[in-house]
């Protein structure tokens, strides 16, 4: 069991997300980088869909009240073990992609790094013990359910793990994180043609900066506003994480995991499935360019991406790498 001594906003319990309920208005939630969560779980011998801690703001400081194996993934946060006097423990440096034993009485510190966004996932052997609600342990922050009472983790919280941890199931010594490529590919969305030729060109050619409004619901892009959605009002319609909406002010919003299920702004484009996880590594000030690809290229990329997922699952289940 861990006790939270210090944490930033948007530290939440998440898993692979809540699926199949969008027709009821229930959004996805879940880790922004689901592969990072799956990697941490598979290293620990957990089930892929077990709950982990997603950390978007640092530092995070946890006190360990009973021995527990952990695994970090995502960005390297300079994580380390320190003693109760906050002194470093020899060989206490914790690299992402490996299992580490944390002993009772030790403190686990994730300082984070100075960059637009540091993204980390902390997995615990057995998985974080919170009730499964509507098929998932993910926190739905907007509607206040799931995870830890539907809210972000805060100082004083106690984080318990389930007791089904089976260290004997661990088959992997380490997993190298893939790390963001900086390449975010997208295909035109349903309302692409409603924008002027200039706006369509600007979408792909602008070097966008992620604005201050950047959270689990979406990322606002700043740059020259896109001129001229010429279509006027449109009825609400379903949206998904990765959809890029353009509100009347012309500044695109990339929807993320906590976005609502329907939207009324024109959808100029969508991030391809294989690149969605990279949104996790973008924060205020990050620069990105959206690279237009064809639907066929997007589907080919997705097949390769799914192949990566199945190799990851197979190597963790011992059925060959």
């Amino acid at each position: 069991m861990f006790e939270v001594l210090r944490c930033g906003p948007l530290t939440t319990v998440q898993d692979q997300g809540r699926h199949g309920l969008r027709h009821l208005g229930v959004g996805q939630s879940g880790c922004l980088d689901p592969v990072a969560a799956a990697q941490a779980n598979l290293l620990l011998g957990n089930a892929r869909q077990d709950a982990v801690l997603e950390v978007l703001h640092f530092p995070l400081l946890l006190a360990c009240h009973s021995d527990c194996d952990i695994a970090l993934s995502g960005d390297d946060t300079d994580a380390r073990l320190i003693d109760q006097h906050r002194q470093p423990i020899p060989e206490g440096r914790l690299l992402p992609g490996f299992v580490h034993r944390v002993r009772q009485g030790q403190l686990l510190l994730l300082p984070g790094r100075r960059q637009p966004r540091t993204y980390a996932v902390l997995g615990m052997a057995g998985g974080i013990d919170v009730p499964e609600i509507l098929g998932s342990r993910s926190t739905d922050l907007n509607n206040r359910f799931g995870g830890l009472e539907g809210r972000p983790v805060q100082s004083g919280d106690r984080i318990h793990v389930s007791h089904h941890a089976d260290a004997g199931r661990r088959l992997l010594d380490g997993i190298r994180s893939i790390g963001p490529t900086g390449r975010v590919r997208a295909i035109p969305g349903p309302e692409f043609e409603r924008f002027t030729p200039q706006a369509r060109m600007d979408l792909w050619q602008t070097r966008w900066t992620v604005g201050r409004q950047c959270n689990r619901m979406g990322l606002r892009l700043s740059g020259m506003p896109l001129q001229g959605d010429v279509g006027g009002g449109m009825p609400s319609s379903a949206v998904l994480p990765g959809v890029i909406q353009v509100p009347p002010d012309g500044r695109p919003i990339i929807l993320a995991n906590d976005a609502q299920t329907t939207g009324g702004y024109p959808r100029i484009a969508s991030i391809i499935t294989a690149d969605l996880w990279q949104l996790a590594y973008l924060g205020p000030g990050s620069r990105i360019r959206l690279e237009q690809v064809s639907v066929e290229e997007a589907q080919t990329a997705n097949r390769e991406w799914q192949r990566y997922w199945s190799i990851l699952n197979l190597s963790a289940s011992g059925e060959g790498a």
Binding site: H23, I187, A238, Q260, I272
Partner: protein, 233 residues
């Protein structure tokens, strides 16, 4: 123009959207859209009913329907499009089951409906008349969205059309019954928003702890508001 020819487009590399011109008769087309959604679920295409089903979600909007494939679905979008088109064409205008009507008791006005007077001022109606007109109509749930369990209701009396507030409220409480231009809705969860709050219901529109029935309303339901209390001084 035939109202039965939808436009099919891509929401992303594994989601299709079929949509109808928003000038068509929405309640009529919506009944067909919802029946299509139902048929697709029945045909085991949906992973909720069949673990091997290629569809993760079937999401109706007003006059549109989105089909999202699971990330590892082997069915290509082209095949999904064909299946969809044939399903749509085979869809009979058979009478569907009689819709369910859900009554929603509302405390109108006073502290429960701080914007009732503003709606009355804007529409030129008396507050009592605003309440009576709001409770007189039967509404149709076109779809759920925006929040878990939030109904997109069709059927607001045009005389009640009132523009949204210039400055949105930072918090509309759960259970609020509100008007936003030509629409009315009920907020299952607290939310910021610019709609005008005319009343409040005690009913729970979303219950995450009830996996069998998380939302009070479902697309296709009919809704009637009943006057539990009316304060208009």
């Amino acid at each position: 123009m035939s109202t039965l020819d939808p436009v099919i487009s891509l929401v992303n590399d594994r989601a299709l959207l079929i949509s109808f011109s928003h000038h068509v008769d929405i309640p009529h087309i919506q009944r067909r859209v919802l029946r299509l959604a139902q048929d697709l679920r029945k045909h085991s295409l949906c992973s909720a009913s069949n673990p091997d089903g290629p569809l993760r979600d079937i999401v109706p909007g007003p006059g549109n329907l989105m089909l999202e494939l699971t990330p590892d679905a082997s069915m290509p979008l082209t095949e999904l499009t064909e299946r969809l088109e044939s399903c749509w064409k085979r869809l009979e205008d058979r009478p569907s089951l009689p819709p369910r009507t859900v009554e929603i008791p509302v405390c109108y006005g006073g502290e429960h409906g701080p914007d009732l007077m503003q709606v009355a001022r804007h529409t030129g109606l008396t507050p009592q008349s605003v309440i009576e007109r709001h409770a007189a109509n039967t509404y149709e749930v076109l779809c759920l969205g925006f929040q878990p369990g939030f109904p997109y209701l069709h059927g607001l009396d045009p005389a009640l059309n009132t523009p949204r507030r210039d400055t949105p409220r930072s918090r509309i409480p759960a259970g609020s019954v509100a008007i936003g231009a030509d629409r009315t809705g009920i907020y299952p969860s607290p939310s910021p928003g610019g709609w005008l709050i005319i009343g409040h219901t005690e009913l729970k529109l979303f219950d995450a702890d009830n996996p069998e029935r998380p939302t009070l309303l479902l697309p296709g339901d009919r809704v009637r508001f009943t006057i539990a209390e009316a304060i208009h001084v």
